[in-house]
Amino acid sequence: AKKQLVIVVKGLDNPFFEAINQGCQKWNKENASSEYECFYTGPASTSDEAGEAQIVQDVLGKAETVAIAISPSNAKLIAQTLKTANPKVPVMTLDADLAAEDSALRKTYLGTDNYLMGARIGEYIKKAKPQGGKICTIEGNPGADNILRRAQGMRDTLTGQKGLTALKGEGGWTEVAGCPVFTNDDGAKGVQAMTDILQANPDLDAFGIMGGWPLFGAPQPYRDLFKPMAEKIGKNEFVIGAADTIGDEVAIAKEGLVTALVGQRPFEMGYKAPSVMMDLIAGKTVPDPVFTGLDECTKDTVDTCIQK
């Protein structure tokens, strides 16, 4: 058997990680003759944190494993797992990082700067509505650290202050009652909740969507909801900043139903990770962190915004 460069993701149920897998597979195809292969795995569900830790253990116990890249859904738990397992092979993080104080446990981080991503969404919203207004944040799984980090980035950018967990007029922005909404990565739930929030708050000014589920998971109800508001969105009277550029999202941006999209580059993560791991095995110095870029799309840039 080939030596394995293992990628452990948070959960298989998410198309985002599938893009990482695509990158991983592309690397395999291009390096068919290599003595290494990229091996992608993870728990069935993103919410199964303990399951991910168990998989990490399993993988570290396997003789074929020569390096591992982890996307931790519970950073502390993975850190703890790594401490106990005390692996002999190089470990890096991918897509999501360990906490700062645990950074010695991994060699490097490859992925998006989630805080920056949220901050970019915040900037688009702030640019469209400099005077502030009422906003609702749509989040995913309540325990998902990367999403929480994005939300923090957005809040910090909107207010110019650090570390607020709910906005009550700082920088002109107020989060309405019932927000943030946790959609548990369910597109339909996300749109349904957004519909309810809009019903209850007709004077809402903005949505900050920290994970793209409502757009790519339920594009049609999303369109139905915002088509009547397309004109307002065009005039920046209503603002929607959303994460990701998956599936139908770019088309939605083209239709002018979202102010701006800020997307990650998961494919790039999956494609680059094997090379970074091989560098680590070879003992080369690798910068820490290695950020993959962000794709930012507005109505006017949709045709060119995605990095190929």
Partner: protein, 331 residues
């Protein structure tokens, strides 16, 4: 004065009216109505046409599956695979249409998949005597995994030449009522009819009441059980098709965790997991209750952290009416 044998035989313990009052479905319906009235006064946005349109549409997916689930529960079984089957059927539809086939082929493939899955569950349960919980839990895992395989775990959002037809099917409306609501109404009437007026329905109840007795009296218990699991999977498949038309995209996590919601809808509506009891109307009422609660979270602006408490509390409260009536009566 003397009562004849004829008169005694013609008696019955409860008339139609008192049976209605004795049913959990009725009291949950009362709870739903009270909640709606409360929300109409407490928020200005509840009783608006758009909100009602949305609520009725949102309720349908859980409700349609709850109809099939009700049959399973009446026989004393359980089907945990419905959420995954919904996902698999949606994915089969999406992938087929994406590959350029028409909507007819897509729907046929999807329905076919549902029936095969249901038959698999049913055969293991009825003929090999597997516990329904184990079989359908296994299928929960298998169906979603197959959906991943079918789609390569990607988002499918382009449905080939009949793209628009599919969207119209699930997203359209007729006389101001969302299409899914119409489908749900038709399916509920059909289920209600089958349960009350057909021999099949009678057998479903008999199996749940006393499976052994049903076997002894010549009820084709095994065939009926297979049929019931096929119907359950079918209802999940139908809900999947409609939901795909509404959402306009399929991911491999749609329907995740839906099984508990669906079973809850059926049970809240009066079905008894021990078997023998349940109605189509109850399934709809139970699903409606869950959706009204969900809808109210946003409208009332409940704090995100407390939303779960609110949902859970409301589910328990809804059944409280019925329990209180029972307690009062048992004295």
């Amino acid at each position: 004065m003397a009562i004849t044998l004829d008169q005694t035989i013609a008696q019955r313990q409860r008339n139609w009216f008192s049976s209605v009052f004795a049913s959990q479905t009725f009291w949950v319906l009362v709870a739903v109505i009270i909640a709606c009235i409360f929300l109409s006064f407490a928020t200005s946005s509840f009783a608006t046409p758009t909100n009602l349109y949305n609520i009725t549409r949102n309720v349908t997916f859980v409700a349609i599956i709850a109809l099939g689930m009700t049959l399973v529960i009446i026989t004393g079984g359980i089907d945990l695979s419905v959420g995954s089957v919904l996902c698999l059927c949606s994915m089969v539809l999406a992938v087929t249409m994406h590959a350029g086939y028409g909507i007819g082929t897509g729907i046929a493939a999807s329905i076919g998949t549902a029936l095969v899955v249901g038959a698999f569950n049913g055969l293991l349960i009825a003929y090999l005597g597997f516990p329904p919980f184990v079989v359908t839990l296994g299928m929960l895992s298998i169906a979603r995994s197959l959906a991943m395989v079918a789609s390569n775990n990607t988002v499918v959002f382009q449905f080939g030449p009949d793209h628009d037809k599919l969207l119209a099917l699930g997203g359209g409306a007729w006389l101001g009522i969302a299409n899914p609501v119409l489908y749900m109404a038709v399916l509920a009437l059909l289920t209600g009819f089958v349960l009350r007026w057909t021999r099949f329905g009678r057998y479903v109840f008999a199996i749940g009441g006393n499976e052994h007795a049903a076997t002894l009296t010549g009820v084709p218990v095994r065939k009926i059980k297979v049929a019931v699991y096929m119907i359950s999977a079918l209802s999940a498949g139908v809900a999947g098709i409609i939901q795909t038309g509404w959402l306009g995209a399929v991911t491999t996590n749609i329907g995740a965790g839906m099984e508990l919601q669906v079973i809850a809808a059926a049970v809240i509506g009066g079905a008894n997991l021990a078997g023998g009891v349940g109605t189509a109307f109850g399934a709809i009422v139970g699903a409606a209750l869950i959706e009204v609660i969900r809808n109210s979270l946003g409208l009332l602006g409940i704090n995100a952290f407390w939303q779960g408490t609110f949902i859970g509390g409301a589910i328990v409260l809804a059944v409280l009416f019925d329990r209180l009536r029972n307690l009062r009566q048992s004295d």
